[in-house]
Amino acid sequence: MTSAEFLLWVRGPGLQIAAVIFAFGIILRFFEIYMMGRKKNLSAKRASGTGAGFRTIAKRFLPADSETMRRSTFTIVAGYIFHIGLFVTLFLFVPHIQLFDALTGISWPGLPMPVVDFFTVISMIALLALMWQRLTKPVLRMLSTGHDHLVWTLTFLPFLTGYLAYHHLFVPYTWMLAFHILSVELLMILFPFTKLMHAFTLFVSRWYTGSMAGEKGVKV
């Protein structure tokens, strides 16, 4: 297989397979969650939980308070940097926007290449820092399983291959670009069945927690 054939495959059938598994997987996972149902709350509510649920969705984007920030500084700072970097590289990199445009017809302005490059690098540094923390902090060592390391790798590879492809490093550009797309496809395929799913379910979780607390008149 030549690099061109490989690139064509990952761009065509490869992407289609990944997209289908990604979409159906996510639907399945939501189905698995909502299928469990929950009991109606019969206690006398102080307030409706619906609005409170949405407030908690927004509120949990920030740490609970300054003391929590102080106690978990490393996780919060590295976590923020990574997620902001992920957003910028995924959605504000012009070639990515062109891809979204080609697929959906929706486009938006991107950021200059050097800016995206900067965010790619700090995202990778944040991911490495989080992995270092996972491997050294007793609590995280105890919690971590192969799943955590797999998901870290799946997340790190698209950054790395994207960076190497953009800078034409190590292997010819076509190969590296194909690897980059392949790494994203791997991520998409495993996304619904790993903790990566939190990107979607965190909204469900926050809503449940916020609404249950809201019915008690507690703002969480």
């Binding site: 996972r29 909502y34 299928m35 009991k39 006398a44 102080r46 929590t68 979780s205 927690t209 507690v218």
Partner: protein
């Protein structure tokens, strides 16, 4: 209750898994931030006490039973079964090192209500037979005698008589049509009889009709703590029956944290129908009386005081402003701890920990969190509104040779009631 077994435990656990739990387990990214919010972890440094880890058997059960991937893994023999030995090992984590305080649920970035899951995990643990002896005893006494501490109605009657002698007026017993039904905790009956007298004096001054029930005087609910809904239901039903028989408008939960959760928030769900009476914590009632001008106090405490928020009242109950409004009436030098209100730290002994002998040492270690908070403030006195917190605080303070008295807020208010009798001013 039928005999506990691993099968019963697993079935009970399966029954507990609902959509929120499925979403919570799907969302956890193992970031470990809950560890920084748990006093059992911060005060011991033991990594096993990271809150989400306390749920690992339940997470595996959810994965194996209710997810496609988990089922496939089970089919090809890739998943580890939940064993009796494992649950036995987890007993310490689920009961000794968790006071159901819910602080972890406040900091989780994906919004998981971790303590909601622990409460449910305990249903499986107790059905499997892995609950602490102390809590099994308390639950049995609560069902058979009517109180987790074995307090009988005779003891209550004796206390009522004693109080009436001190007060000079009658304490209504089984008075039909009263506005309020006053409940107590065994701890109050045994250790803090001042509570009943305080309520009597406040009600008397406010001109409110109230009563105690000889059939339901105990508000605490060991069933909630051990995680046995069948027991919890029996205990709630007793109160519901008494409230309906006496046709009261409001049932008052005493100065106790979990009793409030039990009757105010879990009660109707346990018996499967809404109540047709109101449930309020004593502090909510007192704050209403204050608001209506029916709680009149005079003089104030000049010593430097702070308030220890009972977890079940604040972040799990929504009673946050009331104690502050009330304290301001009678404390001139009231200061807040760094973390207070919904972000308070537990006394270390809630959620059944105080009834659990196995947790004794750990509880005292966990108290160090409160000690640090108090050392920062240099207060002369500590006020709270939960008899269980109070006894845990007193024990912790004594252990650390800290000379700080602990008061119940209701009693403190009663001591400052405006009185017509001359010469009784403090």
């Amino acid at each position: 209750m039928s005999k506990p077994s691993i099968e019963r435990g697993i079935n009970a656990l399966k029954e507990q898994i609902d959509a929120p739990i499925a979403s919570y387990f799907s969302s956890c990214v193992h970031c470990g931030m809950c560890a920084d919010a748990c006093l059992f972890h911060t005060e011991t440094g033991d990594p096993r006490y990271v809150p989400i880890h306390k749920l690992e058997p339940m997470r595996r059960l959810w994965e194996q039973e209710y997810t496609l991937v988990g089922r496939l893994k089970k089919l090809v023999g890739l998943s580890k079964k939940i064993t009796a030995e494992e649950l036995e090992e987890w007993q310490e984590l689920v009961y000794n090192s968790c006071s159901l305080c819910g602080r972890c649920s406040m900091v989780c970035p994906v919004g998981n209500d971790i303590v909601y899951m622990i409460r449910k995990m305990r249903e499986g643990m107790s059905a499997a037979g892995y609950a602490p002896e102390g809590l099994i005893g308390a639950s049995t006494r609560a069902v058979e005698i009517g109180s987790p501490m074995g307090v009988t109605i005779k003891a209550v009657e004796a206390q009522v008589k004693h109080a009436e002698k001190d007060l000079g007026f009658e304490i209504p017993m089984d008075a039909e049509g009263a506005e309020y039904l006053v409940l107590m905790s065994s701890m109050e009956i045994m250790n803090y009889p001042e509570y009943l007298q305080a309520v009597a004096r406040i009600m008397n001054q406010a001109g409110k009709s109230w009563t105690i029930s000889s059939e339901a005087f105990e508000a605490t609910n060991a069933g909630i703590q051990i995680g046995a809904s069948d027991i919890a239901r029996i205990l709630v039903q007793r109160i519901v029956d008494a409230a309906e028989k006496l046709k009261v408008k409001t049932v008052i939960s005493p100065e106790c944290g979990h009793a409030y959760t039990a009757i105010r928030w879990e009660g109707a769900n346990l018996i499967g129908r809404p109540f047709d009476f109101k449930v309020q914590h004593i502090l909510e009632v007192l704050d209403e009386l204050r608001d209506q001008g029916l709680l009149k106090t005079e003089g104030s405490e000049d010593s430097r005081m702070t308030f220890h928020d009972p977890c079940q009242l604040v972040r799990r109950g929504g009673v946050v402003e009331q104690p502050r409004n009330l304290l301001k009436m009678v404390a001139s030098d009231f200061v807040e701890m760094t973390d207070h209100g919904i972000m308070n730290w537990c006394c270390g002994a809630g959620g059944g920990v105080s009834a659990n002998e196995d947790a004794h040492e750990l509880k005292l270690k966990a108290f160090n969190r409160k000690k640090k908070q108090l050392d920062e403030l240099e207060v002369d006195a500590l006020v709270t509104a939960c008899a269980n917190c109070r006894i845990a605080l007193e024990e912790g303070l004594e252990e650390n040779e800290m000379d700080i008295p602990v008061y119940g807020l209701t009693e403190m208010l009663a001591e400052h009631l405006v009185t017509e009798q001359p010469g009784k001013e403090k």
